[in-house]
């Protein structure tokens, strides 16, 4: 009986910390801010404010030194690591890292899915989005824009282009076969945050600081995040070891594309792209950049999902109902590039 007992005791010990197949086992998780600069404001009148109803008044000085243009990142490190480098997920315009979390209809997003595939995942909020915070008009001399309900519905290939939104759900013209969880569109709108049109350089500077802190790495880019990602990779080609660009809304600088010669890249596009002029225009820019990368000695693979039988994808691919299937397409490419087991 003795050997059995030893086995049982050891087993019991292991079982106390054992995780089921559906559990997520992390060797660490945390967050940080990175980048940013100190801006000085002067010459504005000091005000007295009451921060809390019934509380004591206090001074609000709009002058002085302000921390601005930093960004936020949250990371999750799986115990059973299979990705060889950290995977950084960068969101699109008017959005935050929430893009990659639970989908608007409550399914697991790419953060969880790639964590389960064994990647160290870093989900970030760019400058002026979400937990990055934003600077005031005294520093940026500009105001943010806000998206109404119609805007993403009509632009992001959920509805069938301009005029497809209606406040009456029965009158909305959803694209046939669309995979976006349109029944949860309210929740999608709750993820929307204001954005500025004047902060690109600050955003890129903070992303460079993020790459300098966390990489070598793989970048997973979406939409506006693609523009930033390619430009950052041009500046840090030694640190960005691969790029997955999901419907990048334009790309990097064609004149600098050769910088990516050692950075294998996947460009991924959903459905309905060619028949919607805005997306066709972005895709054309992406493909011209791909050609420039190739001319410089690099490799860019392009996957149009409908070409491999995956249909109905909106611009928000990572939230679409088949988001796990698309994650598998990306994973297969990463494994093929030797970046994961």
């Amino acid at each position: 009986m003795r050997p059995v007992l030893i086995g049982m005791v050891l087993l019991g010990f292991a079982a106390s910390a054992a995780a089921g197949e559906d559990d997520i086992v992390l060797r660490g998780m945390g967050s940080f801010h990175v980048g940013g600069r100190i801006a000085e404001v002067s010459g504005k009148p000091v005000r007295e404010i009451v921060r809390v109803p019934g509380g004591p008044p206090s001074k609000l000085d709009p002058n002085g030194q302000f921390m601005v243009e930093q960004m936020y990142a949250q990371y999750f490190l799986p115990k059973n690591r299979k990705g060889k480098l950290p995977l950084l997920m960068w969101h699109g315009g008017g959005l935050t890292g929430v893009t990659y979390e639970t989908t608007p209809d409550g399914r697991e997003g790419w953060l969880n899915l790639f964590l389960r595939k064994g990647w160290d995942v870093y989900v970030s909020d760019a400058v002026e989005r979400g937990r990055a915070g934003f600077a005031g008009p005294d520093v940026w001399q500009s105001e943010p824009i806000f998206l109404n309900y119609a805007d993403p519905f009509e632009r992001f290939r959920i509805g069938d282009g301009e005029g497809s939104w209606s406040s009456d759900p029965s009158k909305r013209k959803v694209l046939t076969g669309n995979q976006f969880p349109v029944e949860a569109y309210d929740n999608y709108m709750k993820q929307s945050v204001p954005r500025w049109l004047s902060t690109d350089n600050a955003i890129i500077a903070a992303y460079v600081a993020l790459v300098d802190k966390v990489c070598p790495c793989v970048l997973l880019l979406h939409s506006q995040g693609g523009i930033f990602g390619f430009k950052v990779a041009e500046q840090r080609p030694d640190k960005v070891k691969a790029i997955v660009a999901v419907e990048s809304a334009s790309a990097g600088n064609v004149a600098k594309a050769a910088a990516l010669k050692a950075t294998p890249t996947l460009m991924l596009f959903g459905d309905y792209v060619d028949q919607h002029p805005r997306w066709a225009a972005y895709k054309k820019i992406d493909l011209e950049y791909a050609a420039a990368v190739r001319a410089g000695g690099g490799t860019v693979d392009v996957i149009n999902l409908p070409d491999i039988g995956i249909k109905g994808n909106s611009h928000m691919l990572m939230q679409d109902k088949n988001n796990a299937e698309i994650a598998d397409v990306i994973q297969k490419w990463l494994v093929g590039r030797g970046l994961a087991e």
Copy 2:
């Protein structure tokens, strides 16, 4: 040999998914937005904008329906659950849920520490903070305020009150014995986000929606979050089963305090409170509320940390160098109330 082999095989199976003592094993993690309302804007001119340099122009319509006043929550559910209810962590003014994540100097924050104690933890961003997003001036008719470097340093009992900040580090007057990681104050400033002075009702409405979704629960409140937490508890006394108020910046409505008669409450205060008039004023309001709760049949325990030998705590207790020691004080109280094993 057979029984040993079976034991070893079983052990091997368990070990493949086994977690070490320092690992975090989750049965789930995710995020959601909750609350919010649709606001209508009309009569503003439509603009044409270019969202991406070099990209196609597109219409920006500042009119229409906008989703506003929602809030964000992220949750982590430990496998080895010991807390009997979810623990909701609400941040203070000008901050986000990041307050509870990794500290500015890179140590584990209360999110990780309470997760390790076996609590289902929900960390949220209130309306207009972080990933909750914010509404524009067409909806709120007001502008946010921004905090300069001096403001939290002087107000949050890091420095010794007004005039203690200097842009020259050698001239900063830090409170003697202060536990705040002052060497990482830059990182703390990066966590700071703008706030509005006009959104209290919207914030409370969204918190009520959060409580309706997630609770029964325990609320862990900080600073401005305390005001909101007590007011929400007054509206949902059946769902808020206990409150830990960490330096609540004022409290609920004294006339409604009896609503908390079945909600045991801990009020926790750091060091230097009595000699700083602003904090002494807030504490007085808190203690008057505590008296009103008690008069209504409820129980409020008050812990002044210096009274139990824990000294040097700033207003940002959960980020101070002894944050784990304070988490233990809170845990002990929660266990004593039968809310955790």
